[in-house]
């Protein structure tokens, strides 16, 4: 058992909460997990937990920061109204190539996610529970999860049987409608809403989809209460979150930090001319001077049109060119379009090509205006938010690297190192089988 520091109100401020304490240096098996966190606190009645999650103010940690209790309530209400038994899905398909927090959580604390899945299933009255993950690049998360489920079965803790499902290695396969499409037997490509998944999702039943980390927080709130959860974070955005931090060495570091933490605590020392990417490849580039005044919460980041997203904070090394890096990532994003919607299918490759031209130097004078016009044309016109996220990323690059754009127009570039920095998977989708 770890010691927990509490302040006068009984709120706990010690981190990490989700990951095993660093000194243990190993992943939680069932016994370590049960020893640290105790029994699964089933409420033995549907709906009860929803009020507690509302009091805690937990929001989704997959990127959208949607209030969790609203989703729980929507599924619970739809199930009641339509007299259908809902399904619950833990989304561990972390498709952002720069992110590694869900894979790390599933590797180190699989039982906390599985606890959250059970408790969420009970809260909405679900009889189906699925854990959806990617094949991990480094760890065999799949066999870790199979072991974890066997241990839980032997201990008799799970009330709803959990199925494991694997996402294809595509950027969009973790998107909610793509996930439902895939688990319903189709390709992992987005579909057009409405109806909402909370009303008609997996096989037509009301479906709760929550990010894996969100469920782990839920499992702890169920044990320790809303006040404990609010012991860290801000009033508006309480709690902690997992972040993936990348600095000059390029290696990801996963850390659990309170919302509202100064960004500079994550980036280290940053000069005004440096740049920080917050929120990943659908996120926002900030200048060093912006990043040094902002904190890791949506209220603060909104000042710079940025969002916390799934907690990715990347410091661009001083020897790299932000335009070259952005162009390479946008090419990847264009190739990862499912190609279903005309504006995305036509616009993203054109934006990517013009950015490559700008990054290459001495571009046509109208190249920047082209990117801006096409960005306006694709935004808000897809079935999913892939075009919107991509243009947010592109627009922030043109703002943050405005001086570099001018330098490139004169045929110069401030980078001294040309090897790629931001991680981009090698294989683009070629055939329909790549989405299955």
């Amino acid at each position: 058992m770890t010691a927990v520091t509490e302040d006068a109100t009984g709120a706990a401020t010690e981190l990490p909460r989700l990951l095993p304490p660093p000194e243990t240096k190993k992943a939680d098996d069932w016994h370590a997990h049960a020893g640290r966190h105790g029994r699964l606190p089933y409420r033995d009645r549907q709906g009860i937990l929803i009020r507690e999650i509302e009091a805690a103010g937990l929001t989704g940690r997959g990127g959208a920061a949607f209030p969790v209790h609203q989703k729980l309530q929507a599924v619970f209400g739809a199930a009641d109204k339509r007299r259908r038994t809902p399904a619950v899905i833990a989304n561990g398909a972390e498709s952002e190539p720069a992110s590694d927090k869900d894979a790390t959580l599933l590797w180190l604390s699989p039982h906390l996610v599985l606890d959250g899945l059970q408790l969420a299933a009970e809260a909405v009255g679900a009889d189906t529970a699925i854990l959806y993950t990617h094949v991990n690049r480094e760890h065999d998360v799949g066999s870790r999860l199979r072991e974890a489920l066997q241990a839980r079965q032997a201990a008799g803790v799970d009330r709803v049987p959990v199925q494991l499902a694997t996402a294809p290695a595509r950027f969009l396969s973790g998107q909610e409608t793509a996930l439902i499409n895939h688990l319903s037997g189709g390709p992992a490509i987005p579909t057009f809403m409405p109806p909402r998944i909370t009303e008609r999702g997996l096989n037509g039943v009301p479906t709760l989809v929550q990010n894996a980390e969100t469920l782990a927080h839920l499992a702890l709130i169920a044990r320790k209460g809303p006040r404990w959860f609010r012991g860290v974070g801000t009033d508006a955005e309480p709690g902690s979150m997992l972040v993936t931090i990348r600095r000059a060495d390029g290696r990801p570091r996963i850390s659990e930090v309170p919302l509202g933490l100064p960004l500079k605590d994550l980036t280290g020392e940053i000069g005004p001319d440096s740049a920080v990417l917050v929120g990943g490849y659908h996120g926002t580039w900030l200048t060093g001077s912006e990043a040094s005044t902002l904190t890791l919460d949506n209220r603060s980041l909104a000042q710079a049109h940025a969002r916390v997203g799934a907690g990715i904070v990347i410091t661009l090394p001083a020897d790299r060119c932000g335009l070259v890096e952005t162009a390479r990532v946008v090419r990847y994003l264009a190739l990862e379009s499912a190609g279903q919607c005309g504006p995305c299918l036509n616009g993203l490759p054109r934006i990517a090509a013009a950015l490559a031209e700008i990054a290459g130097g001495r571009a046509r004078p109208q190249a920047v205006a082209d990117v801006e016009r096409w960005s306006g044309l694709v935004t808000g016109r897809g079935a999913c938010h892939h075009p919107d996220g991509t243009t947010r990323f592109v627009g922030s690059a043109l703002r943050t690297f405005a001086a570099e754009v001018e330098r490139h127009q004169r045929g110069r570039c401030s980078a001294s190192v040309t090897s790629p920095f931001l991680p981009v998977p090698k294989d683009a989708a070629r055939t329909e089988h790549d989405w299955i």
Binding site: C341, G342, P343
Partner: protein
């Protein structure tokens, strides 16, 4: 109750019939896909809007309550 147009961008294949029948609310982008005015349809356009909806070869255009 006021209605508005909603295009399903997955089903839309850019045939362009809607923009021809309802230029007041639908224009075409440079790739031939419709840009639909998201605001409630102004009075007097309902008939043409219904014609545009029926003319869509892929049934991608709908009128919904706004």
């Amino acid at each position: 109750m006021a209605e508005k147009l909603l295009v399903n961008p997955i089903d839309c294949e850019g045939h362009g019939a809607c923009a021809e029948l309802l230029p007041e609310a639908i224009t075409m982008d440079e790739w031939g896909y419709p840009i639909v005015d998201p605001r409630p349809l102004p009075p007097g356009l309902e008939r043409n809007a219904r014609a545009a909806v029926s003319a869509c070869p892929t049934l991608a255009l709908r009128l919904v309550r706004s």
